[in-house]
């Protein structure tokens, strides 16, 4: 029980770090903690060899994002503190709503509550993050957050070597895209 609560608490803090950080290094660090957390969660259900594929592919993705960002100059447009605070408050609100609705969803998806709650909160954080940020690499981190969250839920439902392999490939390919797009301020086109 304490261990499960600790896992939930750590995942929420790591997600909060990713969401509210101004420095890409800190965001990437938060993402790395989340991949480690997924490994700890999945290892309880799957064999270590299969679970480690998730950790390794995640860390490879992080290396690819870091390699793409390392020579990029820091953006002149620094995110205001109020926006970071807004993102955090919005995330906390969503996590609270999820805490209330997770038992109902648990009737649909018969997996452990810890995995379900962590999965759902990471999916929602990923969606929130990618919709609120401006830079392409941040949006891609948001997509990765979403995928980590779904991975926690789906791994608890089904253990397939092929799905794990394809999922790892998808994670790596998405990370590659972070270096493909340059930093660009969000364009909102009208009709």
């Amino acid at each position: 029980m304490i261990f499960n609560n600790l896992l939930i608490f750590t995942s929420l803090i790591a997600a909060a770090v990713v969401i509210t950080s101004r420095d890409w290094r800190v965001s990437i660090g938060g993402l790395a903690i989340l991949y480690l957390l997924v490994f700890i969660l999945v290892i309880q259900i799957w064999p270590i060899a299969l679970a480690s594929v998730k950790l390794i592919s995640g860390l490879m993705g992080i290396s690819l994002i870091s390699a793409a960002r390392i020579n990029v100059e820091k953006s002149q447009l620094e995110t205001p503190r109020s926006e970071l605070f807004f993102r955090l408050l919005l995330s906390i609100l969503v996590w609270l709503v999820l805490a209330a609705s997770a038992p109902t969803i648990n009737e649909w998806l018969p997996i452990s509550y810890t995995n379900l709650y962590i999965g759902l909160s990471l999916i929602s954080s990923g969606l929130l993050f990618s919709s609120l940020v401006r830079l392409p690499y941040e949006k891609i981190i948001g997509v990765l957050l979403l995928l980590i969250g779904f991975d926690v839920i789906y791994s608890s439902l089904e253990g397939s070597a092929l799905v794990t392999a394809v999922y790892a490939l998808i994670t790596i390919l998405i990370s590659v895209l972070s270096g493909y797009f340059p930093d660009e301020v969000d364009y909102e086109g009208g009709i």
Binding site: L169, I170, I174, L177, P182
Partner: protein, 464 residues
């Protein structure tokens, strides 16, 4: 050697090998030859033939097994394979003629193979993963590295990624549902998940905003090619679900949702194309209109038959292809070194605009156009179902017609050309031939019917 090896694995490997060829023209020629060979292979290769084969034919199994999953391309899917490689060869020809910089050579071949793999994989839930990889492969086709505007592309990536979990979860919910009937609660859960997944994939309202944005940010030929293939396969995968799950296609709320959302998308797309200032965005909105029409045709399929879908799909995609290549032709005009106002440029502008008008008229389903008979079929069936539906469809088609009339007005009033002044070079003549082909196909719609039947021959349960 099996059918999936011939039409999925080998072309995918060849596409990757083509990446290492430095000369663009040689790469393009090889791409074209590979597509033609794979197209012709559908004639000499028989899949799981029951009787004997002729001396020039080969018999291959339909199934390829990888780690317990099966990729199945039966004899009935050869029509689709032909269409896929014909589209690839056609677009290679267009890239050659327009002399445009495009990444669809050779990545388009890999993209098509991935979509074919997604269509053929069993159990179907794995198609979600393969489609996600296809989406990731399509990004380098659509955008150059360091493209200065990419918001539409990032939204496309995010929403397509969001669709994957829903479809995977549906697959888990429906495990065994193909054989045994599912309970009411399970049915509702599966329908909700599948609906959300397809809404995300098919850019159904309110998840549609990325389409016009992306069209504005990318080259017309690339976005036209990618989304023509992508949405064609998504609709075919959706029909595969309908074909396999009897209870799903007979569940009233699903059919109702298809009709309502489809009609809404028709109006949204046509209104967007009317109000849009940018020609590229206009194309994006017209694509949304096409998605709407196809969604409606799936929704009213029960009242008629599946051939209505295939005929609509074929005519609308043909119209959209012409729209794409006409836009690309006009874009290539802007990129060419010909001096503005020259006779050659005038001919291109004239022919490109004419192509746009014919394409829009076809999509609007006007008489003597390629889309006329299929649009009439949809009207006829919709009229039996609901007055509101038929009114919405007619209004949306009227708006598309107004867009094309607007283009005609611009062509006739703003540009005071005399046809005798137009200097037709080789490219202009080739484009003129394409236009004549489209006009003939519109006058004789029966010519395209066998191709439409080929598209749906694999869905035995849906053919009434």
């Amino acid at each position: 050697m099996s059918a999936p090896v011939i039409w999925i694995v080998i072309p995918a490997i060849l596409a990757l090998l083509l990446l290492f060829i430095p000369t663009k023209k040689f790469q393009l020629a090889l791409f074209f030859i590979i597509c033609v060979i794979l197209f012709l292979a559908t004639i000499v290769v028989k899949i799981d033939s029951i009787g004997g084969v002729r001396f020039y034919e080969f018999d291959v199994p339909a199934t390829l097994q990888i780690l317990g999953r099966r990729f199945v391309l039966p004899e009935e899917s050869k029509g689709l394979i032909r269409i896929v490689f014909a589209i690839n060869a056609f677009f290679a020809g267009i890239v050659f003629f327009l002399d445009q910089k495009s990444r669809l050579i050779p990545l388009g071949l890999l993209f098509s193979c991935l979509l074919l793999a997604a269509y053929s994989v069993e159990p179907f839930l794995y198609s979600a993963l393969i489609i996600e990889i296809a989406v990731l492969v399509s990004i380098p086709i659509l955008y150059d590295q360091n493209a200065d505007r990419n918001t539409g592309g990032l939204r496309y990536l995010t929403l397509q990624t969001l669709g994957m979990p829903f479809i995977l979860l549906t697959g888990w919910f429906l495990a065994g549902g193909e054989i045994t009937p599912v309970g009411q609660e399970q049915l509702i859960q599966a329908v909700v998940l599948l609906g959300l997944g397809f809404m995300s994939w098919l850019a159904i309202f309110p998840l549609h905003a990325w389409v016009p944005m992306l069209f504005e940010e990318t080259r017309a030929i690339d976005s036209g090619y990618v989304f023509q293939m992508f949405f064609l396969f998504l609709f075919l995968i959706m029909l595969k679900f309908f074909n396999n799950f009897v209870w799903f296609r007979e569940y009233a709320p699903v059919i109702q949702a298809f009709r309502v959302l489809g009609a809404f998308m028709c109006i949204l797309g046509s209104a967007g194309s009317y109000f849009s200032q940018s020609p590229q965005k206009k194309n994006g909105y017209i694509l949304l209109h096409i998605i709407g029409i196809l969604t409606v045709s799936v929704g009213i399929m029960n009242e008629s038959d599946i051939s209505m879908f295939s005929q609509s799909a074929l005519s609308l995609w043909a119209g959209f292809t012409l729209l794409t290549i006409s836009s690309a032709y006009i874009q290539s005009d802007l990129n060419q070194t010909t001096s503005p106002g020259s006779q050659n440029q005038s001919a291109r502008e004239f022919l490109g605009s004419l192509g746009l008008i014919i394409a829009q008229i076809s999509i609007a389903g006007m008489p003597l156009s390629i889309g006329f008979s299929s649009t009439q079929n949809i009207y006829l069936t919709s009229a039996k179902i609901s007055n509101v539906l038929i009114v919405l469809l007619i209004v949306s088609k009227l708006i598309i017609s107004v867009v094309s009339f607007n283009n005609i007005a611009v062509l006739v009033i703003k540009n005071q050309w005399s046809l005798s002044d137009l200097n037709l070079g080789k490219k202009e003549l080739a484009f003129l031939l394409v236009l004549i082909f489209f006009i003939i196909a519109g006058i004789f719609p029966g010519l395209s019917l066998p191709v439409a039947d080929d598209l749906i021959s694999g869905f035995q349960n849906l053919i009434q």
